[in-house]
Symmetry: C2
Subunit: 369 residues, 2 copies
């Protein structure tokens, strides 16, 4: 086992740097081979340190999900940033300031938001129209050409906005059910984005297309019909991505090391220090349909073992996790040992834990807002 493991006292986010760097290079290579720009989403790691691994893979442009995150990465030397969230006009002042410092890309999806933003925008920013290609969360419906053209016109008339592209997040790949269906959604989504582009072309506007969900970007062999990809989660992957078939188990780059604090033989349960404030309450359905909050591996010489297929984090309270353990695991583990919990959703787990510990014992900080 890693020498420093004996010093781990509380739920600790362990990061396998080799795996994360390999995940980055794989996606960067696929983007390069496809001739598209790779603009990874940094909300997954929220860390200037991890960001450098992307820079070493040739990344120059990034995506974030909040204005605060954009400021953090701008301070850390990133000069081309997309805030992939419908523009929040309450932050117009901060947005204008950022636009004066870096190449800022904003998402707009209504005339109202453009109208409210423009009077407060002195520096120029790129505007991307947020398009809904079927996910149904937010954005202009791909086939609602009236709204599309209205918003495009509002942007085109604003001195401080450049009409740059159409951007979508096909988040419905997360519920697709099979890799085959994920590929279909990816293609359908790119096709629909292309139709929206055609509607703008008819009016003389030429725009770029940007897509971005990790399941789709991981599974398609090649990025076709788009100009830019923005996956984020793939840097670490997690149990949810594994359940979709978006990654192999040995591509999952982080776990939460959790101390065992109690054993209950009669129900074959282990109690761990590791709860909702560490793992998040994100769940996926287990084999019996009930929610699971993580799967279990053990510490290994370097990193962690393969997951135990018959053991899960079955419930969480604020600081406690209850592990339903198969007999072999139950018998092997003692109070005071560490379990390595593979989280359901690495973005939310990393956001809660706030820093990474690499397998070499190095601490990598995340932003704190």
């Amino acid at each position: 086992m890693m020498a420093f493991a004996s010093d781990i006292q509380r739920p600790t986010l362990m990061l396998d740097e080799t795996r994360a760097r390999r995940n980055i290079w794989q996606m960067a290579d696929k983007a390069a081979a496809s001739g598209v720009r790779f603009r990874p989403h940094f909300k997954t790691h929220q860390s200037a340190g991890v960001g450098e691994w992307f820079r070493e893979a040739g990344v120059e442009a990034i995506t974030v999900s909040s204005v605060d995150m954009a400021r953090y990465f701008a301070r850390n030397g990133w000069s081309d940033v997309t805030i992939a969230f419908p523009v929040n006009i309450r932050q117009a002042h901060a947005l204008n300031e950022l636009a004066g410092q870096i190449h800022l890309n904003l998402l707009v999806e209504s005339v109202d938001a453009v109208t409210a933003l423009v009077p407060k925008q002195r520096y120029e920013a790129d505007a991307w129209l947020k398009i809904d290609t079927g996910y149904g969360r937010t954005g202009i419906r791909w086939d609602d050409h009236d709204t599309l053209l209205q918003v495009a016109r509002a942007v085109a008339q604003a001195d401080s906005l450049r009409l740059t592209g159409l951007l979508t997040h096909a988040g419905h790949t997360y519920g697709a059910g099979s890799p085959k269906r994920i590929v279909e959604i990816y293609r359908e989504s790119a096709f629909r984005l292309g139709r929206a582009r055609d509607a703008l072309a008819d009016e003389g506007w030429r725009v770029l297309l940007s897509v971005g969900d990790t399941p789709g970007c991981s599974i398609v062999p090649r990025f076709e019909s788009v100009d830019e990809v923005r996956p984020g989660n793939f840097v670490f992957y997690d149990l949810a991505q594994h359940s979709f078939g978006a990654c192999n188990e040995d591509e999952i780059a982080l776990v939460v090391a959790c101390p065992v604090v109690a054993k209950h033989r009669s129900r074959s349960q282990l109690v761990i220090y590791g709860g909702a404030v560490h793992l998040s309450k994100e769940s996926i359905p287990g084999d019996d349909g009930r929610p699971i909050y993580g799967r279990i591996a053990l510490p290994a010489e370097r990193g962690w073992s393969r997951m135990y297929s018959g053991s899960t984090v079955a419930s969480l309270s604020q600081e406690h996790g209850i592990v339903q353990a198969e007999k072999e695991l139950f018998d092997r583990v003692q109070v005071g040992d560490l379990l390595m919990v593979v989280p359901v959703h690495s973005c939310l787990t990393a956001n809660l834990l706030g820093r990474f510990l690499t397998l070499d014992g190095e601490v990598i900080d995340m932003a704190r807002f």
Copy 2:
């Protein structure tokens, strides 16, 4: 509307100090009238500032859920602290240090943990046996007298531990289904704890009894048959407690102010800046059985309006919330307005947001670990 509301730019935890202080006094009065010690759980607010409101209500002893939280409150002048979590022997050094500084109360539930702890414990601490009175999360089963006596003996033999009491958390009140059933669980739990005490008394040990869930402590008219109560959530309450009948709507003391960033008339949905990293993914079933992640009020002259009964936070992603809005709310709200989201679980929401903004515009910080 409050003058400073126009300055709110991002998801912001709004705290009604008057309500919170009233909640504290109500519980403190009930404890005093019942002749039991009030040892409130501070994991809900994790804030030295909010802690002072308890001190003003006569509170001298507190409960926390982690060693780090115990250290934080010890630094902030709290000298009698129970860590209501099975002792984590990986933190034995920190526990010993704390025991040298304050009156420290630990939870033990196995001979293994006691055996591992004692050699590292130089300063004396009070030991409470964690008892499972029916919740089934962790602890010694109330009727497993063999284990109870084994652990009691291990504690009694340790120079650095004082066998002080029996402690339970009847967390199954959260799924009880009705206030009547919550009262039944409270009473059953206190009765079972009493039976475990009797088993120790037969061996000559006299111990105190401590109970602690917010639904039970809120609903029973008087604390009977116990020596100490440890509710936490009641200081703020939330949508879950309201759904159990543990509080009235005007006792809920916090909401998350969230900017509206998009409107979708065709499906009557509002998109807010406020997602899983602000509200947490804790949910309760809505009227149709599907999960809801919050309910909606509007900003008022001071604080917020009553909740809209037909509107809910229907889904969350990392930073987005989707509000399924009834027509009146939808029509009333514009992009750039604030919605006041009543969270499902105030402890997890406060933990994510990290600071409070009172209705007077004062910022109250929380601990950061």
